[in-house]
Amino acid sequence: MWWFKSKRSASSAKERLQLVLIHDRTDLTPAELNELKDELIQVISRHVEIEPDAVQIDLQHDGRTQRLVADIPLRSVTRRRTG
């Protein structure tokens, strides 16, 4: 039966709330966050070479503090030299 296969509802309530609350608190929609990511990639690319497809931007919370966490892998310098 389906309800035995699906995970219990409390964990899905918590996961959904985590996402909703972060966006409520920051007033940032997922679309705006994507836009922010694209602009960030452009700005950083002007100074260093990065891997645009591997860039990850997340909103995390620690208690009631929100944090914008960006993981931006740099393109390897040796590759640029040989290329």
């Binding site: 509802s9 309530a13 009631r64």
Partner: protein
């Protein structure tokens, strides 16, 4: 005597604000404090009926503000607890009859003569809510372990932070320990983790709460009620006493009994 002004808010309606105010007020008054409750829900008066005082209303808070009576005249004394009073909401449709400064003025007038002023905030985050928190020394945010109630509680907490109110404390109301055990209800830990504020009480779901409201005698007067015990504990914590949180597992729900019979516990 300088009263502590405590406002109970939730954002979402129907999570148990009025019931909590009535119960905590009865518990405080029964343990010797002088308590004045204010129904902050102008136009939708209901704290009076939960407290069983609906037949005694002559004046209301708008009468006080508009100078038709003295503050004392609008304070209805409880039938059993002589140190418990209610200032009822008006039934007028004009929500703008009360302003944040009116609430501050009324609370300041009560402060020297009471230990606690408990304000029942209306649902929502508009004028009535703003009035209710204007004079508050402390705000208790009440929620249920349910997605919409938690989300709205978070909005209220955000507004309180922006207003730089002393950090609010959480009442988690209507927790069903059996559902939590089955992982089909957010646990107290889940809700605290999501909202990131400190806890002042967990009230288990309890049929006796409805019975109490029906009679106009809040359940905190019933020594056998689990929810009543939880509300009494909140009252003690408001007085600064260190009361351990109840072990809700002791309740021995149906699921527990089945598991015991099946020899699984």
């Amino acid at each position: 005597m300088t009263a502590q002004v405590v406002t109970i808010s939730s954002g979402k309606g129907g999570v148990g604000k009025t019931t909590a105010v009535a119960n905590i007020a009865f518990a405080l008054a029964a343990s010797g404090s002088k308590v004045v409750c204010i129904d902050g829900d102008i136009g939708l008066r209901n704290l009076d009926v939960v407290m069983g005082l609906e037949n005694r209303i002559v004046y209301d808070i708008v009468d006080v503000i508009e100078g038709r009576c003295k503050l004392r005249q609008a304070m209805i004394r409880d039938k059993h607890l002589p140190e418990l009073y209610l200032i009822p909401a008006a039934q007028t449709r004009d929500k703008n009859a009360v302003s944040p400064s009116d609430m501050k003025r009324i609370c300041d007038e009560i402060r020297p003569d009471a230990d606690f002023v408990l304000i029942d905030s209306p649902a929502g985050i508009e004028r009535g809510f703003r009035n209710a928190i204007a004079a508050a020394d402390r705000v208790l945010v009440i929620t249920n372990p349910e997605v919409s109630a938690v989300r709205d509680a978070d909005r209220v907490i955000g507004i309180l932070e922006a207003e730089e109110k002393h950090s609010p404390a959480l009442i988690l109301n209507r927790l069903n320990p059996d559902l939590v055990k089955q992982h089909d209800m957010l646990s107290a830990e889940d809700v605290l983790d999501l909202l990131g504020i400190k806890l002042i009480g967990i009230v288990p779901e309890d049929e006796s709460v409805i019975v109490g409201s029906n009679r106009g005698v809040p359940v905190s007067q019933d020594p056998k009620s689990r929810a009543g015990q939880a509300f009494r504990n909140i009252a003690h914590r408001l007085k600064g006493e260190d009361v351990p949180f109840m072990d809700l597992d002791k309740q021995g729900g149906l699921w527990d009994r089945i598991q015991k019979m099946a020899g699984r516990r």
